[in-house]
Subunit: 299 residues, 2 copies
């Protein structure tokens, strides 16, 4: 797929002598240097109305919701939070190199009244204008990929559709075969190599911005698809709350790099051609799910 000529040119560059490489390294700052040089306008705070706190016994997982791609599912999730539906449920599935999922396997918690069946929302019409920082190196699955409002996104002008991409840390709505069965009551988080075959088959609603390691390091379930067996005590979910309803003193104070900023463009370049001395053959390329969307404590 990749034109071999472009690859050759890229490789010819990195086959040059060490002095040239050193000169290149001097020109390209590392990601740490890019972030250190960024200004306040390169960052945005999380929106308390679209930020979830998943409180686990070992700590807090912070999720940024993206209501633009799946507004009906996001609205359902907010209704579920308002009804305290998730509190006391469990993580029921941890499948290696795939997903962590939580829910209510025993139907102990009735769904709140008024929680409607919603349209699939697996992709969206391509708007005439959307913020889009396009990656230059292509993608195996989609004609175009990049970042929009801090999320990894794919799009097709021919199909006139756009969709969120299943990268590490993305949060989706579990469903059965029925495409309208995903109420939002079961959510999953990607903990392995990007399962991009799920793109356009499930509603993605957000991304973990802090606490991934609390999910990714959980014991894997021994039953099919990583579900926990009866003797594998599932981890309880203490609560899920909207940031807006948590007292300010108890909030995580995070900000995310703006994916339409100059700092993020520099970050992408730094990751396409790693300037660190360790690298003898910088890739000269990067795939969508290898670009870190930087998050830090708010300043």
């Amino acid at each position: 797929m990749m034109p071999d000529l472009r690859f050759l040119v890229a490789c010819a560059l990195v086959f040059l002598t060490g002095s040239t490489l050193a000169a290149q390294a001097a020109q390209h700052p590392s990601m740490a240097e890019v972030l250190a040089a960024s200004g306040p306008t390169d960052w945005r705070p999380l929106d308390p109305q679209n930020t979830l706190y998943v409180e686990l016994p070992r700590g807090r997982v912070v999720i940024e919701l993206n209501p633009r791609f799946a507004p009906l599912h996001v609205a359902n999730i907010k209704k579920l939070i308002e009804a305290r539906y998730f509190d006391g449920l469990s993580i029921i599935r941890v499948q290696d190199n795939y997903v962590v999922q939580w829910g209510d396997p025993d139907n102990r918690h009735p769904l709140p009244a008024g929680l409607g069946r919603v349209a699939p929302e697996f992709d969206s019409p391509l708007p005439s204008h959307m913020p889009f920082t396009r990656l230059p190196d292509g993608d195996v699955y989609a004609p175009e990929v990049g970042f929009s409002d801090g999320f990894p996104v794919a799009r097709s002008h021919l199909l006139q559709r756009t969709w969120l991409a299943h990268c590490y840390g993305m949060v989706g709505v579990g469903r059965d075969v029925d495409v309208q069965s995903g109420s939002g009551a079961e959510l999953y988080v990607v903990i392995g190599h990007a399962p991009r075959h799920l793109d356009r088959n499930v509603a993605l609603v957000g991304r973990v911005v802090k606490g991934m390691e609390l999910l990714s390091s959980l014991p894997r379930g021994s039953e099919e698809m990583g579900f926990y067996a009866k003797n594998e005590a599932p981890l309880p979910i203490k609560s899920i709350r909207l940031e807006a309803e948590v007292p300010p003193s108890e909030r995580s104070s995070l900000e995310v790099i703006r994916t339409d900023s100059a700092a993020f463009a520099a970050l992408i370049e730094s990751r396409r051609n790693r300037p660190e001395n360790f690298f003898v053959v910088p890739a000269g390329r990067i795939d969508l799910c290898n670009v870190p969307i930087a998050v830090r404590e708010r300043r």
Copy 2:
């Protein structure tokens, strides 16, 4: 990078009516069906001379070595095993969405005599003949990718080079900035989204074929790059042995699908176009690190 026209054709296919989709599904067996229908010649046993048992307190991790791409590093690793170098060392680093690494941070274990500094072996000359099951959907990082002798491989005819690819579960030789500093005494395993930027920058020597979950679910280290802090007790490595030196009654008896078999070709097709009812938009494509290289108990 992907021709939009091909994408449109693929998408047009999946936009056809449900009856057509059902007919497609009937034509394409699922991966489970492919494996169930496979014959004995579609599988190969592991070679006891190139299979490692990493014995951890919670169980055994089985690694298949690939001596063709990094023969000097593999020879070093065998010397280290013979000297019982690894026994009693620890897992010293677990970086989320990246690698698990073991070694001897305190230099308690002297390296065995005769363990030479070896050439980088980060890629290899492209042989005139190599088994290669090429994937049809391209790759972001390399002109061609596929499978050779059960391993994910990239190659370039223009560069006349080939190399193993950093997919989930691949095992590499940790090194410092000095490209000859990777003796084999520190090994790492990929536990996250494929860090393909490491391709051609490190010597890959093998792949975990069983027990990944024992590594991927370890607590992440809190220090920089996921190294464990002093107060985070690192997991001990009881021993690393070659399968050939373990009594037959204590061996794991595994076989791996032959990546040049008809069954593996059918597996790839089944994963490119998931026939399971769950999928409403089969991807019609697959990336290198999403193809499962099936492993099972030997029959």
